[in-house]
Symmetry: none
Subunit: 154 residues, 4 copies
Amino acid sequence: MADDLVRRDAVQLNLAGAQTILAAAEAKAESMDLKVNIAVVDAGGHLVAFYRMDGARPASIYTAMSKAVTAALKLGDTGPVVRGGAPPDARLNVAIENAAAMSGGTFTTLNGGTALVVDGQVIAGIGVGGGTGSQDEEIGRAGRDALLQALQGQ
Amino acid sequence: MADDLVRRDAVQLNLAGAQTILAAAEAKAESMDLKVNIAVVDAGGHLVAFYRMDGARPASIYTAMSKAVTAALKLGDTGPVVRGGAPPDARLNVAIENAAAMSGGTFTTLNGGTALVVDGQVIAGIGVGGGTGSQDEEIGRAGRDALLQALQGQ
Amino acid sequence: MADDLVRRDAVQLNLAGAQTILAAAEAKAESMDLKVNIAVVDAGGHLVAFYRMDGARPASIYTAMSKAVTAALKLGDTGPVVRGGAPPDARLNVAIENAAAMSGGTFTTLNGGTALVVDGQVIAGIGVGGGTGSQDEEIGRAGRDALLQALQGQ
Amino acid sequence: MADDLVRRDAVQLNLAGAQTILAAAEAKAESMDLKVNIAVVDAGGHLVAFYRMDGARPASIYTAMSKAVTAALKLGDTGPVVRGGAPPDARLNVAIENAAAMSGGTFTTLNGGTALVVDGQVIAGIGVGGGTGSQDEEIGRAGRDALLQALQGQ
C-alpha cells in the first residue's frame, strides 16, 4: 500500500555476499589478464568490501568506488545517458555530472558500475576500475552473476 | 520608486505553499506512473520542503535540488541555453556547466527546474528528478500551477 | 547465519512514514514556539523528506541534514562522544569530526540527530536545526515517537 | 649506500597479505562480540582491501580509513600526541587535527590505526573503526600479528 509507513521485506547485502562478488570478479579479471580495483557498496552507497589486485592503478580506486556508488544510487548500471538511440549528448551528460557534484562528487557517467538487483530491489553497486569501460563492465557483471547464482542455490 | 531604500511588498513562499506544490507534483507523478524526487527552494535557493517518492532514485535527490536552485537563482525555468532558435550549442552549454561547477554543482542546464512567479517576482524554484527532462518539467509545472490556482482562489 | 549472502527482512522507511515524523516534529516545535528545519533521511543517509518552518534559519538546513545523516550512519543519536562519565574530550571529538570529513563533511557531533530504530534496525535519521541542541533533540524525538506509536497501531 | 639512485629491496603488501590481515582482524572482532570496519592501505595510503562486518556502523568506514592512512603515512600507530609522559595536550592535538584537516580529513589522532612494519619498512596501515579506541587498536594488532606470523612461517 502506498500509505504504508515502512516496508518490512527489504533485502540487504551481507559481507559474505560481497566477498562472493569480489572473488568472482577477481577471477574474471585474472582470466582476462587484467589488474583492477573492485568495490562493492550497499544500497545506500556505503562501502561493504573492496579489493585492489596486485599491480592495479591506485588512481582507479576512486573511479571504482564512484562507479559502485553511482550504480547503487541511480538504481542501474553506469554509463553515459543515451536518449532515443542517438549518440550520447555531451551537454546532457556533463550536466548530469555537474548536478551530481552537489552530492560531493560521488557520481560518474563512466561505464563499469553494475547494479545488483535481488527481488526487484537494487541492493548493491559493484564498481570496477582499471580496464577499459567495457572490460570493467564485464568484470563487474561476472561478480554480480556469481552472487545471483549462489542465491539460486540457497 | 527607484530611490526607495527598501521594498515592502516582496512575496515569500511559506511552508504551507511548498507543501501544496509537493502534493500536486507528487499526484501528477503518480498519474504518470513515475517515482521522482521533488524539491522546493525559496528565492535565495534554500530548501523549503522536499519529498522523495518510494522507489525513486536517491541519485536524483541532487539533480532535483540543483534544478530547483537554478530556477530560483536564474529567475527562470532550467534547460539548455538556446540562441536564435538554433538547436542547443553543445560547446556553449558545456561551457556554462563548467563555469557553473565553480558553484559546487549548484547550477545545471538540465530540464526540470521551474520558476514560480507571483506578482512578477520569482519566489521559488521547483526541481524534479527521476524521469526524463520533459517528464520532470511536466511534474514541476503541475506543482507550480496548483499553487497559482490556490492563490487565485484566495 | 553469519554466512548468509543477503538479509531478507530489512525494514525501510517510506515517504508516508517520513511525513508522519515531520508533522509530529513540526507540531512539537510549534508548541515550544520554535521555528526549525527538520530533515528525515533513510538508513543510507539519503534525504526522504524535509520541512523548513516559516521563519527558521536557512543556515540550519545544513545542520539539520548533517545531524540526520550522522544519526543514520553512526546508528545512534548525535552528540559529543563521552567516555566513562567524564566530560566530553575536546580532542577526541575534534578528531572524530575530522576523520569523518573524509566522507565529504557530512558528520557532526552536534546534538539534535535522532536514530529511528524499528525491529532492532536503524532505518532512518531525524535531524533538527534551529533551537538549542537539547530543544532540537526534543523535537526530533517527538517525531520519532509519533512514528513508533503509529507502527504499534498498525 | 647513500648514493644509490634507487632502492631495490623495498617490501610491498600484496592483496593476499591484506586478506590475511582482514580475516584475522575480523575473527578477533567476532571473538570480542564487536562489529567493525577494517581498512588496509599500502605505504602510499591507498586502499588495498576493506571489509565492513554485518551491522557495523557505516560512519566508521571513514574513521577506519583515516586511521589506516594516518598509520601508513606517519609511519607509526595512531593516537594523540603525548610529550614527555604528560597526559595528551588537548590544544596541541586539536591543533594537529586542524592542520591535518588541510588534507581533506585524511589524518587523525584517533586510536586504532596500526602500522605494519616488515624488514624495518612501514609497508601498510591497518585502520579499525566501530569500537572504542583501545578495542579498535586490539583488533588491528591482531590483524598485523597474523601477517607477521604468516611471514615467519614462510
